[in-house]
């Protein structure tokens, strides 16, 4: 169970949403949106060190749902949020970090494309493939 979302400032509307399980997606979306507030909070808290490479966000651990939400912010305030099911105990912090790094790399590749306007929904097939492969890896 994995869901990843990319949101871009300033309005924090999602540029890209992808989840492996097709059910309960809305709940995940809701979770992600709520977590965005927490991410913003953390960003504003780190006033000095703007280089925020990685942020582990384990706060949203509902007793029933039991899943984790991870956040990641790039230098340009683009937020990546990942929701992972806690039943996947095999997921370690390093793996999450690597996944975010891959997401970040793919996102920069998309940015390099002159036909992509920042703020558009991400429709890159390469990006989709990367995300899918990542999710398959986890599940």
């Amino acid at each position: 169970v994995l869901l990843s979302i990319i949101c871009s400032p300033p309005q924090n509307y999602p540029l890209y949403i992808r989840s492996v399980p097709t059910e309960n997606e809305l709940k995940f979306h809701y979770t992600v949106h709520t977590s965005l507030d927490v991410v913003d909070e953390k960003i504003s808290a780190m006033g000095k060190a703007l280089v925020d490479q990685r942020e582990l966000y384990l706060g949203l651990l509902y007793p029933t749902e039991d899943y984790k939400v991870y956040g990641y912010v790039t230098n340009s305030k683009v937020k990546f949020v990942m929701v992972v099911d806690s039943s996947n105990t095999a997921l370690r912090d390093n793996e999450i970090r690597s996944m975010f790094r891959k997401l970040h790399n793919s996102y920069t590749d998309i940015m390099c494309n002159p036909f992509y306007n920042p703020g558009d929904r991400i429709q890159s097939r390469a990006f989709d493939n990367m995300v899918n492969s990542m999710m398959m890896q986890v599940c």
Partner: protein
């Protein structure tokens, strides 16, 4: 869609005819009803001026829809490619190969194209009809093509066809990527590559530099493809994801745009043939070896092939395996060579005068063969040297070329294109001052080519046959680079008779060139030519050493075989 076709047609006014024709064919396949009318009228003219007025056609290409005509050998090529694309396994290879191999079959393809035109999805049906018509046997189809073709082509094309067929059958056995040359819509033909390179230059004069993202975006937006598709194309082609396109990346992107406009679906991943490494090797060769190879490459492979089949001589046989061994993509070259030979025999393209020259040279080669055989040791070596030059040390000479004389080469390359395709391309900005000096060298080289060719039949000297062999053998090793051939000849002529040729060329150049050239520029041009000759000499020396090594190995093998024979002989005696 008519807009697309108009755009394509208008845009491709500056194209090479074959590429445009190729595209037009694809557009036909993808187009709706309005489109065929235009193309039909264009195709109507196809059979008529095809053979006799090729020169006029090629020159009239520019600015007229008749530009589509010269690509006739591309027509079956493209048609078959399209066919192969639409039908994965229906003897695609056969058909795809036959047209690529038999440009003269293009006239038959044009009538078949007529049939195709009114159909959209019926395009595929007509394809099937085509296949059914021509039947399963490849040769039968080929002969059917020949029969359908206009009577312009006589026994020689048929011979060439048969030769090509044989070669094709040989080729078919080998499942190389090159065997899919005509099948593969993602393979960039030489004409297309040349056109892409020209477009690249129009955007960015330095061939080794990048096209920035915004520039490329504007350029590709002109193709009126939807933005998501362009975005996808960019993703595919910008392999290093740096936001800028190098020349091979640009060629790949352009090719994808072309393919998409013609109805091909974009692939998910970049096809092999469009990979920058692949294109780099291929595109750098024309750029850096433009000094050595030209339409010769087309003529010579064809000549070689016909030689192989008609005369099966050692020299050519040696050249063929050596050259194929030399090149990583030897099959591709053969195919191109075949295509080029077919083109030679039937349709000289924009380099029609060059191809005519190559035809003449080919005949000269045939005549000079007995002589050349005696000289084969030297001329072959020269040829192999030149042929091996790009493959064996590919990065070094190329880099040296790029670093040392990239600018000259680029200019020369462009000048070649300018001079050769002056009829159909809008001349590259003539404002560039260094160009005229280069064009001088180009003009003299081209001018000299003609007198050389004229002299060759008359002379029974070693120089011309040796040179011919050299030049002739070059293409087998190299893909078609006609401009390069002019350069090669231009370089060779200085080698043989530097002062005389240059001085003779200079007045000739002056007569030819309307623009006034200053003597200093001429000297500079001469110096650059001399420098290039020296580089070529160095490369040839390297090739010579390598060839000698090969010779030693062959000797060893021979000795081993002889010992084996001796061992076996006593057994038989007993």
């Amino acid at each position: 869609l008519p807009q697309i076709t108009e755009v394509c047609g208008a845009k491709r006014v500056g194209y090479f005819g074959p590429a445009q024709f190729y595209l037009a064919l694809k557009l036909i396949a993808a187009a709706q009803s309005g489109f065929p009318v235009r193309i039909e009228s264009i195709k109507n003219e196809l059979p008529l001026p095809r053979f006799p007025a090729l020169k006029a056609d090629s020159e009239a290409w520019y600015g007229t829809p008749a530009e589509l005509q010269p690509g006739k050998f591309q027509l079956p090529h493209a048609a078959l490619e399209k066919n192969s694309y639409k039908r994965t396994d229906e003897g695609d290879k056969q058909e795809a190969k036959s047209p690529s191999m038999s440009p003269m079959c293009s006239p038959p393809a044009s009538p078949s194209a007529y049939q195709r035109v009114p159909l959209t999805y019926g395009y595929g049906k007509s394809r099937s009809g085509l296949e059914q018509q021509h039947g399963a046997p490849y040769e039968v189809r080929h002969s059917a093509h020949q029969q359908d073709g206009p009577g312009n082509y006589g026994a020689k094309p048929a011979l060439a066809c048969s030769a090509l067929n044989q070669s094709l059958s040989v080729e078919q056995e080998q499942q190389d990527s090159s065997s899919h040359y005509s099948d593969d819509p993602w393979r960039i033909t030489e004409e297309q590559r040349d056109y892409y390179i020209n477009q690249f230059k129009s955007l960015q004069p330095d061939l080794s530099s990048f096209i920035s993202g915004s520039v490329a975006k504007n350029f590709f937006t002109k193709s009126k493809l939807p933005i998501p598709e362009l975005s996808h194309i960019w993703e595919l082609s910008d392999v290093d994801c740096d936001g800028a396109l190098t020349l091979p990346e640009f060629c790949a992107a352009f090719h994808l745009v072309v393919a998409r406009k013609n109805g091909y679906q974009l692939p998910e991943t970049l096809p092999e043939t469009l990979l920058p490494e692949y294109l780099q090797a291929a595109s750098l060769k024309p750029i850096h070896d433009c000094t050595l190879f030209g339409s010769y490459s087309e003529a010579l492979p064809g000549a070689q092939q016909s030689r192989d089949f008609s005369r099966a001589e050692k020299t050519s046989a040696e050249e063929a395996p050596a050259s194929s061994a030399l090149l990583p993509d030897g099959k591709k070259d053969d195919k191109q060579a075949l295509k080029g030979s077919a083109a030679l025999k039937t349709i000289p393209k924009e380099f029609q005068h060059l191809t005519m020259k190559t035809v003449a040279q080919e005949s000269n080669a045939h005549r000079a063969r007995p002589r050349s055989r005696s000289y084969s040791s030297t001329s072959l070596e020269d040829a192999m040297k030149k042929g091996e030059e790009p493959p064996t040390p590919p990065p070094r000479p190329q880099k040296s070329h790029s670093r040392a004389s990239s600018l000259d080469l680029n200019k020369i390359f462009q000048q070649n294109t300018q001079a050769v395709r002056s009829g159909w391309l809008p001349p590259p900005p003539p404002a560039l001052p260094p160009r005229p000096s280069v064009s001088q060298t180009e003009q003299p080289s081209e001018v000299e080519l003609h007198p050389q060719l004229n002299r060759a039949p008359a002379q029974a000297e070693e120089n011309s046959p040796a040179k011919k062999e050299v030049v002739l053998a070059q293409p087998p090793s190299k893909p078609a680079r006609r401009k390069l051939r002019t350069e090669a000849q231009g370089l060779e002529t200085p080698e043989l008779s530097p002062t005389v040729s240059v001085t003779s060329a200079l007045p000739a150049a002056k007569t030819h060139l309307p623009v006034q050239k200053q003597p200093s520029k001429q000297k500079r041009a001469i110096q650059t030519a001399i420098r290039k000759n020296k580089e070529a000499n160095a490369v040839l020396a390297r090739l010579n050493s390598e060839l000698q090594q090969q010779l030693k190995e062959v000797h060893k093998e021979r000795i081993a075989l002889e010992t084996q024979l001796e061992q076996l002989r006593p057994v038989t005696v007993l």
